[in-house]
């Protein structure tokens, strides 16, 4: 473990990270957002889900720097008197949870299918690639909406957990295609290399060759892709929640908060919707920047 750490600190990736102010800024912002989201229970100044602490008299207060604001609520309060800053942290937690879970799911499915496609070739390969083509010709948001709609129709009175599962599936299912294509491409290259042939010759089973020998060598691009896709998944989740078909209303994510705040835009209470929006963009932008940097840092041709 310690050796790995030393090797990492000594390596190219860490060096290029220290040389890139953009990457450092993005990492710091992403770290703060993730930290606040993960530890919202302890970091947030109020607990927006604790009904006992809510005071309706404090509803729709502007941010603290406004004349009518209260110092207690730094970013103001929403229509139910919940502190915006705290709902942001709890909302970001749900957004991150859904985003990361759906990316993990699509990575697992995509990598498995890509490996299979590249390694098996023939009819299997053709079938998987045709499915990819069809999936790619439709925007992911449409596929996600469709799956969500079907889930809604099949389980009309779904429990929260089930609603989350359907949502994660809806975001993950259109997402596996890029992984499958990338991994298939690298697998096609790897499988002709000598170490694979050697493994074959000594009689290692194909499944084991795929898992133990080829897989570690094709994971680099997947890592880059996954980073960028986390940002994309968070945005998709927010979009679905904004459209009213995302997370259950009892577990508001950033998208839900924006949707709720949108109703108050016309009466001048902009902070209810703008702050969650800003938080969303901050997370997406910093993760995107980190992904861009990682892509360049891991690309040997750019060194």
């Amino acid at each position: 473990m310690q050796a790995a750490l030393v090797r990492f600190l000594d390596g190219d990736v860490w060096h290029s990270f220290r040389k890139s102010p953009m990457a450092i800024t993005a990492a710091v912002i992403a770290f703060i957002c993730i930290f606040c989201a993960l530890f919202a229970n302890w970091v947030a100044p109020h607990n927006p889900f604790d009904l006992a602490t809510l005071e309706l008299g404090d509803a729709r207060l502007p941010p603290a720097w406004d004349e009518e604001g209260k110092a207690k609520y730094f970013l103001g309060t929403d229509d139910q008197g919940r502190d915006i800053l705290s709902t942001l942290m709890f909302g970001a937690r749900i957004s991150l949870l859904v985003g990361v879970a759906s990316v993990l799911l699509s990575v697992v499915v995509g990598v498995a299918l890509g490996l299979l496609s590249g390694f098996a070739g023939g009819k299997t390969d053709a079938l998987i690639m045709r499915v990819c083509d069809v999936m790619l010709s439709f925007p992911s948001i449409l596929i996600a909406l469709l799956i969500d709609g079907v889930g809604r129709a099949m389980f009309p009175n779904a429990h929260d957990t089930l609603a989350f599962a359907v949502l994660i599936l809806a975001i993950a299912l259109p997402g596996w295609v890029p992984y499958a294509r990338t991994v298939r491409g690298s697998t096609l290259v790897e499988r002709h290399k000598e170490y694979v042939q050697a493994a074959r010759v000594i009689g290692v089973a194909p499944a084991r060759i795929m898992r133990r020998h080829v897989l570690p060598n094709v994971l680099g691009p997947v890592l880059v892709l996954a980073t960028i896709q986390v940002a994309q998944a968070i945005l998709t989740e927010a979009t679905l929640s904004f459209l009213g078909v995302g997370v259950p209303p009892t577990q508001p994510s950033l998208g839900t908060l924006i949707r709720v705040g949108n109703d108050f835009l016309f009466s001048g209470e902009w902070w209810i919707t703008i702050f969650p929006g800003a938080m969303l963009v901050l997370i997406a932008l910093s993760v995107n920047l980190l992904g861009d940097w990682l892509r360049d840092a891991l690309n040997p041709r750019l060194r």
Partner: protein
């Protein structure tokens, strides 16, 4: 050439059939049409009667063939929520979405291409850097947030533009248009900008990348050596050659625009197909979902087919690759 066209056509038919199959499965297994039509307390005889009337007792392939036959005639039954024919609902909403998507596509092209050319020619100066940063923001800002920001600025703060609906429309037969009235344009402006931003940034980045690529080629150097003016080199030679991929991508993205219109239409309460679809998803209104799905798939397949054929006609190099490549 003919083999290629036939193969693409066969692929398109397969895609359409699989989408139709998904839509058919939705009808079959999600919700029970008999219960939906008769209610919970119908007698078994009534149910059996209706089942026979609807043809639900027939074998599976026959039902699917019937479904495809009906779908080809645009027949998807009644909307569960509104009780009206799905086809007439869609026909009513179609012009609104098409006008929005077309306006957005034209806006994205007209603004995006010059911005991309500028960013390529003046690479490294302040304004082109600013354009690139803006484009990164355009990719990271979700569509609905752009819409909300535009509403906040132009409709709430300055009160210069309306924020919902289509405004005054003129009916030309079955087609209603907002393009012919001043009020219609005012209503169209914010949604069109919202919908176009993502495409605009995409086109800008693409034009920039292609321009940089082309400007490095030999024929540009020769054009310079011949003493041609900058303007004629940039716009006569370089831009012309970047436009083939740009037009392809824009064509392909038109389908994406129609799909993404769902979000824009929700933000601006634009009475198009997207709004119809999202309400159908919220209320699990299967006939509307199925019809929208088939229509969108048809639009996508047709656009893909046209773009493929155009590309094939425009670029002779592809003819070699496609016929020789492993397809």
């Amino acid at each position: 050439m003919i083999a290629f066209i036939l193969r693409r056509f066969a692929q398109a038919v397969v895609v359409m059939l699989s989408v139709a199959f998904i839509a058919f499965m939705l009808f079959q297994y999600v919700g029970d049409p008999v219960t939906n039509l008769l209610g919970q307390d119908a007698t078994p005889q009534q149910r059996a009667q209706l089942r026979a009337d609807l043809g639900l007792d027939q074998p599976f392939p026959v039902q699917f063939a019937k479904f495809v036959g009906n779908a080809l005639q645009g027949e998807f039954g009644l909307s569960l929520r509104q009780g009206r024919k799905v086809s007439s609902l869609i026909v009513e909403r179609f012009p609104a979405t098409m006008e929005l998507a077309l306006t957005a596509a034209i806006l994205a092209l007209v603004v995006g291409v010059p911005m991309g050319v500028y960013a390529a020619l003046k690479r490294g100066n302040f304004w082109s850097q600013a354009l690139m940063t803006f484009s990164l923001l355009g990719v990271s800002l979700p569509t609905f947030l752009i819409g909300i920001l535009l509403i906040l600025v132009f409709a709430v703060t300055f009160k210069v533009l309306p924020s919902f609906g289509r405004g005054e429309v003129i009916a030309l037969g079955a087609w209603t248009t907002g393009w012919l009235t001043w009020d219609g344009w005012k209503h169209l402006l914010l949604p069109a900008i919202t919908l176009s931003i993502y495409q605009l940034t995409l086109i800008m980045r693409l034009v920039r990348a292609e321009m940089l690529e082309v400007l490095r080629t030999d024929y540009i150097k020769f054009a310079r050596a011949r003493g041609l003016q900058d303007r004629s080199i940039y716009f006569g030679h370089a831009l012309k050659n970047t436009l083939v991929p740009v037009i392809t991508i824009t064509g392909l993205q038109l389908g994406g625009l129609i799909a993404f219109a769902i979000i824009t239409e929700t933000v601006f309460q634009w009475p198009g197909m997207g709004l119809l679809f999202i309400q159908a998803v919220q209320f699990a209104d299967i006939p509307v979902m199925a019809a929208y799905l088939c229509l969108i798939a048809l639009i996508f397949v047709v656009i893909n087919l046209i773009v493929d054929l155009l590309y094939f006609a425009v670029d002779p190099r592809l003819r070699m690759e496609k016929s020789g490549g492993a397809h």
